[in-house]
Symmetry: C2
Subunit: 337 residues, 2 copies
Amino acid sequence: MATMQQVAERAGVSIATVSFVVNGTKHVTDETRARVEAAMRDLGYARHHAASALARGRTNILALLYPALESDLSGSGVQFFTGAAERARERGYTLVLWPARNDAGEIAELTATGLVDGVVLMEVQLDDPRVDLLRASTTPFALIGRTADPSGTAWVDIDFEATVDDAVDRLVALGHRAIAYVEGEPDGRSSPHGGAARAHAAYLAAAARHGFAPRLLACAGDAGAGRSLASRLVDEGSDATALVVVNEHAAPGILAELAQRGRTIPADLSVLSIGTSPGAADPALARMPSPGAELGRLGVDAVIDRIENPDRPLPQTLIPCGPPEGDSLGPAPRPAG
Amino acid sequence: MATMQQVAERAGVSIATVSFVVNGTKHVTDETRARVEAAMRDLGYARHHAASALARGRTNILALLYPALESDLSGSGVQFFTGAAERARERGYTLVLWPARNDAGEIAELTATGLVDGVVLMEVQLDDPRVDLLRASTTPFALIGRTADPSGTAWVDIDFEATVDDAVDRLVALGHRAIAYVEGEPDGRSSPHGGAARAHAAYLAAAARHGFAPRLLACAGDAGAGRSLASRLVDEGSDATALVVVNEHAAPGILAELAQRGRTIPADLSVLSIGTSPGAADPALARMPSPGAELGRLGVDAVIDRIENPDRPLPQTLIPCGPPEGDSLGPAPRPAG
């Protein structure tokens, strides 16, 4: 399908002029109109892309479904979207971010419309009614994340188990034994977020493997909640020497409040944030960066694979977070006395 | 147009069952199929929403255009999207985030497809070729932001002039005279962002009005760049007593680095961030919050007004940022000696 840009180039006119001719919104000279119409004919440009695409049963539009009204899209979510939109463009599709509630009704509507060729679903829960609905539809789909039983679906996911293992191993190698885990609070959905549940389990397993007592902490996902949690740790005289934080937006607040309360980071306490988006990261915060943009790209590749080559094996890919970057990670302090 | 949810309720079955019947993806009993089909008939449910919508010339889909591959969508941008998506849903539309380059070609394509009933454009430049294209199309549109000459368009915008005036007046009332201004770096586009240009001019005008020398600073839009800038101010022995920051993502880094370099905030230095998204705000940072979600809602109202009541006057609305919240704002320090 030719683009308006190509028509403009062939006719030697601006895109605006092509738009005037296509939409009939402004007078152009007969000579210019004839040139634009000839270019449209030569290139097979269709006036009504949507109508002709529907007639062919294809729109070349993909929807990235995100529960935007329930979860704040930010950090890693933005990285997924940007990577996915870029990859879709490279492969001749347009990817749009489609706000859909966590219930399944809106997804059933969307897949029934025929407006999109495929769907990428984010924020996947262990038990997710939206995935059941997508399985019941004829719309090709892929997941960023995965359900408790991910067989029979196309998915790409962060390898939270390997990443948390790696984080705890690094801290233990630096002499830490009092390693606490800071996660988000439950988000009120019927089933937990798959990544959060797998990371939590991996921390408990790593603690058992290394023989230290697990210390579980949780706070809401913003800098203020991170400050409150850090303040409570200081007030209670916590003897934790390291925090593994799987709560992207609370981590900067934790770090800032510890510094403000006189803790020297990392001499007194190491803070290691996992799954943090690389974009706006603070170099003072040690983080294992989320492979967000790469996951978005692979999610798009996976759904296009389902659309164009439905007989191929289902794409199923795990990617760990990157190695730690940033300053708040160091050896455990020597015990006092 | 009835929804699949309504069909499910009337037929007394799950949404998944309705989806099976509509898509023919799984066997259901003849009795159940008959019940679902009766409910679809009774409610006038159309199997192919998109096709029938196009036949009517309406899809009830709105596109929020964002240059996602060039500008990181975060903070206030997410607030626009969330407010807009919520308002669209309330008014019976679906709003999707549509990544579009800053050049006009993709917008010409989109408006020519007929896939969307209307467009809301974000990140508006003073001189914006995308707005010219939208004017040339038949697609109803509204702007979040505005061009240098905003006449003849529907728009909602942050009142940066009033907000910067208010910020400088408050600082002067607190005894500050050495008030520096921290903005973002140019984003490489052909024409500056309208809000950034208007805020910059308002700061210069306020400095002239109060008779103090303007001090212009700029850094990239992330915490690391904010830290570098703060570090430079400390190293150079800057005597600024207040920073007005119109660089949402640099502000937390500025604050954190000043604290780390031993400055007591706000006793030594006030930091006031303008247009910051209220969501993940750090209570330690004084900010005049962006009316982001409200602008998103009003942008959707404006475009729906253009779709449904094209003869009404063009909606054109300015909203200032809210009054300062947070801790980093205080009286000017007494001069030493």
